[in-house]
């Protein structure tokens, strides 16, 4: 009896194993066939350039001539380079300010527009999202016109109050502020929409019971809304920091000065300027440092914002 059942069990397990093996093999082959082209393209256009960048940072190259090996020379010069440190400082500052202000404003707008019974809710959502659809060139043109000393509205308002206005792009802090405002304006709508989606999934019953127990709107926001949307915020935070690094390059190139004397340099614009000046190896060294920096920042943010997932 036992033997028979054992034999049956053995047979069925072997049969199961056979059945398990074959369909998976065919399916796996199909999946591989679908993924491999993308993987190949990804390797060629993303992975290989990163390795090439690290490789080139140990050379001196002007773009058309021979590549001369330099060892760690590029990095040694980098450590003493005042402009590099200023650019690094500007990058960090821009990341901090733009991220904090954008996420803060996005959260606030989302909180007001998600559950609130505000009149014209849809209108505000559309209006706040439109800047995100505009191209960077258009936004830069708008803000350049706004800040222009001859024809700008900002200058006109300041002169109305008998002040003098000669533009924002020459000083380091004023030009950073000018670019930061443009960047925040462009990004708030996108993150607001994501947070609204996250907040809309919170059931009304929680808010009702909270207000019945006498909790203010502020307290409801911090105790109910924020923990339940935390995962969404966490993902967007990491993504946005990287995005700021890229967007800062676009905005500064479109709005400000990118010559070597510019007060406004961030790491990406300095890297680009050095490449244009014919110092490819040095520019790749800056790129390598920026790459490591961006990775480190996203890892740190990921670790800092870790919390156990709260679900309803």
């Amino acid at each position: 009896m036992e033997q028979a059942s054992e034999a049956a069990a053995l047979q069925s397990s072997v049969g199961v194993k056979k059945m398990v093996k074959h369909p998976h093999a065919r399916r796996n082959a199909f999946i591989a066939l679908c993924i491999i082209p993308t993987f190949v393209l990804y390797t060629i256009f993303v992975i290989y350039p990163v390795f090439n960048m690290f490789y080139l940072s140990f050379f001196s190259w002007n773009g058309v001539g021979a590549q001369i090996p330099q060892g760690w020379e590029n990095f040694r010069v980098l450590m003493d380079d005042d402009i590099f440190w200023r650019a690094a400082g500007n990058t960090v500052l821009l990341i901090l300010i733009v991220t904090a202000v954008t996420i803060g404003l996005a959260l606030y707008s989302a909180a007001v527009l998600a559950k609130g019974k505000l009149k014209g809710k849809t209108f505000f959502r559309i209006v706040l999202y439109i800047p995100n659809i505009l191209s960077i060139v258009v936004i830069s043109a708008i803000f350049s016109a706004l800040y222009s000393p001859e024809y700008g509205i900002l200058g006109g308002i300041i002169r109305l109050f008998k002040g003098t206005y000669t533009g924002l792009m020459t000083g380091r802090w004023t030009s950073m502020g000018a670019v930061a405002v443009a960047m925040v304006w462009q990004a708030v709508g996108y993150y607001m929409v994501m947070y609204i989606a996250g907040m809309d999934s919170i059931p009304d019953s929680l808010y009702e019971s909270a207000s019945l127990e006498g909790a203010s709107k502020m307290r409801q926001f911090f105790v109910i809304t924020l923990p339940l949307t935390w995962q969404v915020i966490r993902v967007t935070l990491t993504f946005f920091v990287i995005s700021t690094i890229n967007m800062s390059f676009l905005f500064i190139t479109a709005m400000g000065d990118t010559s070597i004397n510019s007060p406004l340099h961030v790491l990406l614009t300095y890297m680009f300027e050095r490449k244009n000046a014919g110092f490819y190896g040095y520019s790749m060294a800056i790129g390598s440092i920026l790459f490591i920096f961006a990775y480190a920042v996203s890892l740190i943010i990921n670790w800092l914002t870790k919390r156990e997932v709260v679900e309803v």
Binding site: F30, I68, V77, R274, G278
Partner: protein, 463 residues
């Protein structure tokens, strides 16, 4: 099973069609066969003359020419050159932001044309060496005494102003004040500064603006040549030790710092980057500023916003004392042959066609007042180029206006540290740091920075 085959087929079709589109996009609409590839800058002179030149050459030689003209042509052709191909004939000047011509020169990728210059242009009977203007020949040889590029266009730089606002200078070396609502044209920096001081409100009428600091790359060398002589200027271009501490050489920097109170208030702001510099130029047309340093192309560049009654005036850059030679500076745009070309003879034929009588006439007729630095150009261009524009260059062609050529910096060695700025970034670009309202630097700091950078360049050559 059918579903799987179907979806596999679909994805293969998708992949193939996407890569086909990608290929098409990369090679650009079909990729016709051609014999000669000519690429160049689409600049202030327009592109009509190139199209006509190509048509004329195709008709004469029976060969097909591919022409590519773009405002940022370096971005297109540099990858092609790096890949081992690229255009056969390239029209691109030195002194561009991306410096492709300089890089190709440094790496020996331009064909040596020294012996080619003794060949005759088409239907003219004259050789290149006979045709090219003496002034243009000055900068043609590189440091190894060979010629790689031929100057195709010449532009005169100088001080530009509204001619109706000024009366002629009486030569007494002192600013004589306003007469009939007009200012006296200054000849020296002393008169220039006195004119600036006489302006009551710099917000209404100011003395001077630059479009961007980079435009000083004509004014500063010309002023050094005026004050210290052309040999000292050559020393500057060759990074001779302590040349920038010579008081005659560096006086221009001190004068520029001295006129800071009189400059157009928005000058520095508009000059940051290349977006708003046109507003600096417009301020001269609008009467808010009296002078700017610029080149002849500005007339065409600002045509749309210039009233028809506006008359441009040009004078050479200022002297420091009476009796010094004043200079305008010339900027040449070059044409050259890629060393990697497989069509060397055809490329040379094309150059011979461009400089022939027929070619020069096409340029005169169709370009926006481009000037070719050959001795027969004024005759060929008469009637085709507006008389006023040609008159402005009469002094150049007959040799009466002294010119120097700019941007003749000696090629540095290959071991420059990675964070070295270009000479013009400090010699010219740092003017913005002197003229800005807050955190500005002194003229002495500027001169010290130039001397330090010159030392770096010199050490890279001798190292």
């Amino acid at each position: 099973m059918k579903k799987k085959i179907g979806s596999l087929l679909l994805s293969v079709v998708l992949l193939v069609s996407m890569s086909a589109f990608g290929m098409l996009a990369l090679t650009g609409c079909g990729g016709d066969k051609y014999d000669l590839y000519v690429a160049g800058l689409k600049g202030a002179y327009g592109e009509a003359h190139w199209t006509e030149l190509v048509k004329g050459f195709e008709a004469k030689s029976g060969k097909k020419v591919k022409l590519r003209l773009e405002a940022n042509i370096e971005e297109t052709i540099q990858p092609e050159i790096q890949a081992g191909g690229g255009p056969d004939v390239i029209y691109l000047a030195k002194g561009r932001r991306l410096q492709l011509t300089e890089k190709m020169l440094e790496s020996g990728q331009i064909m040596d044309l020294t012996s080619f210059l003794d060949e005759k242009v088409q239907d003219g009977g004259k050789t290149f060496n006979e045709l090219i203007h003496a002034d243009a020949k000055l900068g043609m040889k590189e440091t190894d005494n060979k010629t790689y590029m031929i100057p195709l266009f010449v532009g005169l730089n100088g001080m530009y102003f509204d001619a109706d606002k000024f009366y002629a200078n009486d030569g007494d070396g002192v600013y004589s004040g306003m007469k009939d609502g007009k200012y006296e044209l200054p000849n020296t920096w002393t008169e220039f500064k006195a004119l600036g001081a006489s302006l009551t409100d710099v917000n209404t009428v100011s003395l001077f603006t630059y479009p961007t600091p980079g435009y000083m790359d004509a004014l500063i060398p010309a002023s050094i040549a005026t004050n210290a002589g052309t040999e000292k200027l050559d020393d500057c271009f060759n990074y001779v030790d302590n040349i920038w501490n010579d008081t005659k050489v560096n006086q221009i920097f001190k004068e520029l710092a001295a006129i800071k109170p009189y400059i157009y208030p928005n000058c520095v702001e508009n000059g940051m980057g290349d977006k708003n510099f046109v507003q600096n130029q417009q301020s001269v047309i609008d009467g808010k500023t009296l002078f700017m340093c610029n080149g002849d192309w500005v007339k065409g560049e600002m045509l749309a916003t210039t009233p028809a009654t506006f008359n441009w005036g040009t004078i050479p850059y200022l002297a420091f004392e009476d009796g010094q030679t004043r200079y305008s500076s010339t900027v040449y745009e070059q044409i050259y042959i890629n060393k990697q070309t497989k069509q060397a003879d055809l490329a040379k034929d094309f150059l011979k066609y461009v400089y022939s009588d027929a070619g020069q006439q096409i340029i005169a007729q169709h370009s926006r007042t481009a000037m070719v630095p050959t001795i027969n150009y004024p005759t060929l261009a008469a009637g085709k180029i507006p008389a006023g524009a040609l008159a402005g260059y009469a002094g150049y062609y007959d040799g009466s206006v002294k010119t120097i050529s700019t941007n003749n910096w000696a090629t540095p060695g290959a071991t420059l540290p990675g964070n070295t700025p270009k000479m013009n970034d400090i010699v010219c670009g740092k003017l913005a740091d002197v003229w800005k309202k807050t955190d500005s630097i002194t003229a002495d700091a500027w001169i010290a920075a130039i001397e330090a950078l010159s030392d770096t360049y010199r050490n890279s050559i001798t190292a």
